[in-house]
Subunit: 369 residues, 4 copies
C-alpha cells in the first residue's frame, strides 16, 4: 500500500531503481483531452539524470512507452493510461556494500525494519528514480489542467544551502528557469549556486535547499475541507517526495512573526472579480482556492549519499564504516523542479475533477464529444 | 467530501460552529481496547474555549456523549464509535455583519465560491470549533496507541510571534506543558508569551506562532512509501488544521543550510537496538519510522479576526469596511496544542493498524478475547 | 472498517441495536439542494418496526434529529449532514440466552470470531436495526437524485416463499406498493402473502422472498468500468443488507437459459433518443447505464430467528438447545422495501456525482448559487 | 476511475483489447511471499483464447512480463508488482462495422454516452480481454492466500443454457475441472455442454450459463460489516466481470422457498472446532466468514456477439442492420472459470490483509524476515 495517489484522478506507480522498468497507471483521466507525447518526453527530459554537470551521471534515456488509454488520433479515452519507462543503466555491483552496511539517512534500515526484505541494488523503491513515474503522470495532469482551466505551474530553485535568490517581482517564466542547469531563474544567484554544487561534488559532500512553486489560473473553489484542504493535499504530495523535510504555503513560517492586522489579505474588486490586495494566504483560504496564485515552498535536505567515510551498522547490528563510491548526486534540487511541478499538477487536477466531475466537457480544447 | 480522514482507522466528522452539535464517527477502531471517558473529557477540556484569559470567551461545556461502539463494561467493540458534543453558546446575531462583508483571510468568500451557500453564523464548518470532533477522535487514537505500543504524544508552544523558547534538552512532560495557560513549557518564555497575547488582545490584534510535537515509542516500520510516507500523512493532517501555513519534520527548513556530511544521522548500536546517533531525520527515513522520536513543527498564522477596521468587499462585490466586534481569540496556539496531538495520534494509529491489522491482539492491556 | 459506503457521496453509519442511538454522517452531498425533513420522516416510518401486524412488535418512534449540514432555510450546505435516531425500546434482559448459546444462522459466532467481544443485546451491530441509518441517508440521496435528474426508485415484494406475483406490465406506483402491509402491489398475491406471513408467525417460523426494484430516469453514462460497474456497485450495496443471499439484474439467472440471438436488446430510435427495444440487460451495458430502467432483484433468506427449538453450541463449545422467545419478525421483506430503495439511491447518487462533480449546478430545483 | 480494486491489497488494471498491452499494478502485496512465475503463466494459459475448439480463435500467447516487486531470488518485496502482457493478435480492420453500428447488448453505445470517444477496435476496455490482467493479479493473490492460510479456490461450469450438472458430493478437484474443455467436472454433463456449444457456434448463436465457486480453508473472521461484508465484496467482484447478470451465495434464490426452521444452519462441535451442520449460509454469517466453505454462483448471459443479423442504430441515430463476421466466442463460461477464481482470490486476500495487516509474518512459508 501507499503507491496510489489521488481520489478522482488516481495514479498507481511502480518500479525499483535497478529493476526492469518504472511506470504509472493513471485512472480517472477525463476523456477527449488532446495528448502530446512530445510534451511527456520533454518533461521526462527535465528530470532525467545526466542532463548537466550538476547532477548524477547515471545514464538513462527515459523514453516513455504508452501502453493504453490514448486513441489512435491522440486523445485520451477516459480509460487508464499506462506509461512505462525502461531502466537501462543498471549497475547492481556498484551497490555491494549496501548489503553489509546501512547507509546513514537512507532508507536501507527502515525498509528492512518494515518489509524484512530489500531490493539491495540502488535503493529499490526508495530511490529518487521512482519519481520518473510521477513526472510522467504529471505531464498528463498538466495537459488536463491546461485544457480545463488554463492553469500553469512553475517551480524553481530559490536557495541552495545558504545562497538564496531575491524574491522575484513576478513568477519566472519556464525559459528563465531553464536558462541555468541550476534551475534558479536569477542569473547572479544561479552562478553562485552552480559553483557551490561543483564545490560540494569536489569535496564528496552534498547540499540541500528550497524550491518555490506557483500555480497560476486556478479557479476559486477547489479544495475539500476539512481534511482534504487544498494546501493539505499539496503538503502531503510534496512531503511524499524523497529528501523533503518541510512545506509552507503563502507566508509560511515567517508569517508567524506578523500581527494579524498586518498579515490579513484585504479583499478588493479588480477587473470585475473579487481579489485580494496581498497574497499572504498563498492562494487558499479555509482550504479552498480563492483565485489568487497558489504559492508554496519545499525544503530538501542535503543528499544522504556523501563520499566521506561515515560510521554505521550493518543488518547484523555490528558497527562498521562506510564510504560511498562512484556516482553521486551532490544536489537534488535542479532535478526536483519538474517533480515538484508534477505533484502540484496531480493535486490540482484531482481537486478539479472532484469538483467538476470526470466527464466535465472539454468543449473548447478537447475533441468534440 | 473531505470530511473523512484515514485509511484503516477512519474518522468522519461533522458540525457547524453554531449548529446543534459537533461530532465524529470512528470506523476501524480495534476491539477490546479499554476506553476511559474521563480521558476523553480531559482532552476536550484542554481544547475547550474559555479555559483561560488568553483564549476566546465563548462558553462551551464540551461534554461528549458516546452513542455507540463501547461495551457496557467499557471496552471498544470494533464497531463504529460515535461521539457527539452539543453546542450551547450560539449567538447568531453576533455575526450579522458577515452577511454583507467577507472577513479578510477568513473562508467566507471561498465557501461562497465553492458551495454557493454558507452557514453565515460564526464560520460554519470553517470555524475552529470543528476541531472539537478531532480531539474526541484523537483521545480514542491515543488510547489505542498506548495499549498497542506505548506510544506517547506531546505537543507544546515553541514560539509566539518573535518570542521563542530555547530548544529543550528533552521532551517536556504533560505537566510542564500544562503549567502555563500559554502551553509553553519554558517558564520564562511562557511569561513573555502570556504578556504578548494579552497585549495583542488589548490592541484588538492577534499573533501566530509555532507548535512543536514529539511522538515517542513508535516502533520502526510504520509508513507506506511512496505516497503515504509517515511524514507526508503527518504533514497533511497538520495542514488540514485551520490557520496552519507550514510543516517541517526533523531538521526542516534549517536543515537545508547544512552539508550532507553534517546532516546525516549515523547508525549506532545502543541497548541492543539499531539507533541513530543524532535525529535530524526526525524519526523517519524513506517515509518509514526508524524507532527514534518523531519530531515536527507547525506554523500557525495570526488569527484572522482582528478588531481593527479593514477594507473588504461583500458578496455583491461592493467595497466596504469591516470592524469585528465582540469576542475574539488573539492567539490560537495554546488551544491548538491538544489538536495537534490528536491529529498526530490519528495518523500514527492509522499506520499502525495498516501494518498490523485491525484485529491485532491486545493481549497485555486489552480485555482477553 | 466497513462502515463507510461510497466514493464521492460517502456515508458513515453507526449504532448498536440496543445502544443509545443509530445514525449516519453524509459526506459529499451537493450544496443548495432543498431538504424536506418530512420526507425523511416518512421514509423512516416505512422502515419502522411495529407498523403492521406482519412485522416485529418492537416499538420505535424512529424520529430523526438533524445535527448539521442543513441551512436555516432548509437547503443542503455541502458540509456533512449528520442524522441520528434515538433507540427507545431497549430490552437487554430479553437477550440473556444469547450469552450462552450462538443463535443458528445469526452473526453471534462470527462476531465473536472476528472481534473477540460482542454487544450481547439484540445483535448489536448485526441487527437489522442498523438499516435505519441507511434509510435516513437514502432519503437524502433520493432528494438529490430527484433534483439532479428526476430519477425515481421503486421497490416491491415480488415473492414470499413459494408465492409469487405475476410480472407487472409497468412499474408499480408507490401508492400501489403501500396499499398492502406486505408491500406486494398485486392485491391477490398480497392477500396470499399476508396469510402466509401470519401463518409463519403462528407457527413460530419464518419466511423469505424476493424484492424487485426499478430505477427510472437515470441518464445514460453512469457507472465506472471496469471494477465499479453500475450493477457491481448495486450488487454490493444490496448484498450488504442483512439476510440477503442473491442479486440479479435484468434477465438474471433465467437469462442463462436463452440463446444470445434471443437475449440481445436491439437498439431502436424512439422519441429522438437511442433506446433498446427490450430490456434484458436491465438498464446497463458494459457496466454503464444506457438510459433504460435499471431493474434488479434481491433474494432474502427466511429470518434466522424462529421460536422452534434448535440445536447449537455456546461460546464454550458445549452443545445446547435454543428456543427464541418473545418478539420475532416472521418476514423481513415488507420492511426491506424502503431499505432496498435507499441503497439503490445511494449507489446512483454516488455515480452521478462521480460523473458530474460535487458542485454540479442545481439551477432548476436548488437554490440559486 | 473504476479501474482500481481493493482496499489493502489493491490492483490497478489497464489495457484496451487492441492496444499494445494489458496489465496490472498490485499495491499492498505482503513481503517475503515466494513467487512462482510458472504458476502465473499456467493461470494465464487457462484464460487464454484459442485454447480449445470451444472458444474464440483469437491467437494470444499471453506471456507475462514482471516489471517490479519481486526480488532476484523470487520473493515479493512488499513494493508494487507490475505485470504486463503484450497483445499480439490485433486486427483493427475486422471491426470496421463497429464505427457505424452499435452492436446490440455490447457496450459500444454506453461508452459513447459516457466518454464521447471510443477505442473502436474490438471493444477497447469493455472487451473480455481486459480480464487477462485480473487473472495475473489473481495468481499473486492465490499465492499469498496459500501461504497465509492454506486457502484454495475452485470454480467450475455448473450449467450451460438448460443443461445442468447434478450437485457434486464434494468440491471437484482442479484435475476434474480441467479434464474437459468445458470445465464442467461432471463428464456426462460436460459432453452435452460440449455438443451444445459446438451447435451454437455452427448456428452463429451463443449460450450462457452458471459458474459455481468454492473457497476452502478460509479462517473465521474475514469480512467487514456493515458495508464491506465478505459476500458483498464477492458479489461486487463477480458482477464487475463482463457478461454477468447475477450472483448468489449459499442457498441463494432457491433459499427463499424454505422456512427459517429448515434453512438455519445449526451449530455443532466437530474436530474441536465450532462448525455448522449444514451450509445454507454459504460460509458467511452477518458478512463474516464462519470457517465453512464459501460457496457461490454467478450467472453469465449468452455472449452478445452473434452472427445472425440484428437491427440496431448507429452513432448518428439511423437504423441499420448488423451481422457480425469473423471470430466469435459462442460461450464465455469455460474461460471465465479462472477469472472467477482470480476475483475470489483478490477479495479474500484483501480481507485477510485488512484483518491481519500488510506485514503479517509469513514465518512458515515465506522467507524468514
Amino acid at each position: 500500500m501507499g503507491n496510489i495517489h489521488g481520489q478522482n484522478f488516481r495514479i498507481a506507480t511502480f518500479g525499483e531503481s535497478h529493476g526492469p522498468a518504472m511506470g504509472v497507471v493513471i485512472d480517472g483521466c477525463p476523456p477527449r483531452v488532446p495528448f502530446d507525447i512530445n510534451f511527456l518526453k520533454s518533461e521526462l527530459a527535465r528530470r532525467r539524470p545526466g542532463q548537466s554537470a550538476l547532477t548524477t551521471q547515471r545514464k538513462e534515456e527515459d523514453l516513455p512507452e504508452i501502453l493504453s488509454g490514448i486513441s489512435h488520433d491522440g486523445f485520451t479515452l477516459g480509460s487508464p493510461i499506462a506509461i512505462f519507462i525502461r531502466n537501462s543503466d543498471q549497475r547492481p555491483q556498484a551497490y555491494a556494500e549496501m548489503k553489509t552496511a546501512y547507509r546513514p539517512s537512507h532508507a536501507d534500515y527502515t525498509y528492512d525494519a518494515k518489509y524484512g526484505i530489500r531490493a539491495i541494488e540502488g535503493g529499490g523503491r526508495s530511490s529518487a528514480r521512482e519519481t520518473a513515474a510521477r513526472v510522467a503522470a504529471g505531464a498528463v495532469a498538466k495537459t488536463v489542467l491546461k485544457h480545463a482551466c488554463g492553469a500553469k505551474i512553475t517551480a524553481w530553485v530559490e536557495s541552495v544551502a545558504e545562497i538564496k535568490m531575491p524574491t522575484p517581482a513576478q513568477t519566472p517564466s519556464l525559459k528563465q528557469v531553464e536558462a541555468s542547469p541550476t534551475r534558479c531563474p536569477h542569473p547572479a544567484t544561479a552562478a553562485k549556486i552552480d559553483a557551490l554544487i561543483r564545490a560540494a561534488r569536489a569535496e564528496g559532500d552534498s547540499v540541500g535547499g528550497v524550491i518555490c512553486c506557483v500555480i497560476e489560473n486556478l479557479p476559486p473553489g477547489l479544495g475539500s475541507p476539512v481534511f482534504d484542504r487544498f494546501e493539505a493535499d499539496l503538503g502531503k504530495a510534496m512531503l511524499s517526495l524523497p529528501a523533503t523535510k518541510g512545506f509552507e504555503i503563502g507566508s509560511g513560517f515567517n508569517g508567524t512573526l506578523l500581527r494579524g492586522s498586518a498579515h490579513n489579505d484585504e479583499f478588493i474588486r479588480k477587473g470585475g472579480k473579487i481579489r485580494t490586495a496581498t497574497n499572504r494566504s498563498g492562494g487558499t483560504q479555509g482550504g479552498i482556492t480563492n483565485g489568487e496564485d497558489v504559492i508554496f515552498r519545499i525544503a530538501f535536505k542535503p543528499t544522504a549519499t556523501v563520499l566521506k567515510p561515515q560510521r554505521t551498522v550493518g543488518p547484523d547490528g555490528k558497527a562498521t564504516e562506510l564510504s560511498a563510491k562512484g556516482r553521486h548526486d551532490p544536489c537534488v534540487l535542479p532535478r526536483a523542479v519538474p517533480i515538484v511541478e508534477a505533484m502540484a499538477a496531480l493535486v490540482a487536477v484531482d481537486h478539479w475533477i472532484r469538483d467538476r466531475g470526470q466527464n466535465a466537457p472539454f468543449g473548447r480544447c478537447g475533441r468534440k464529444a
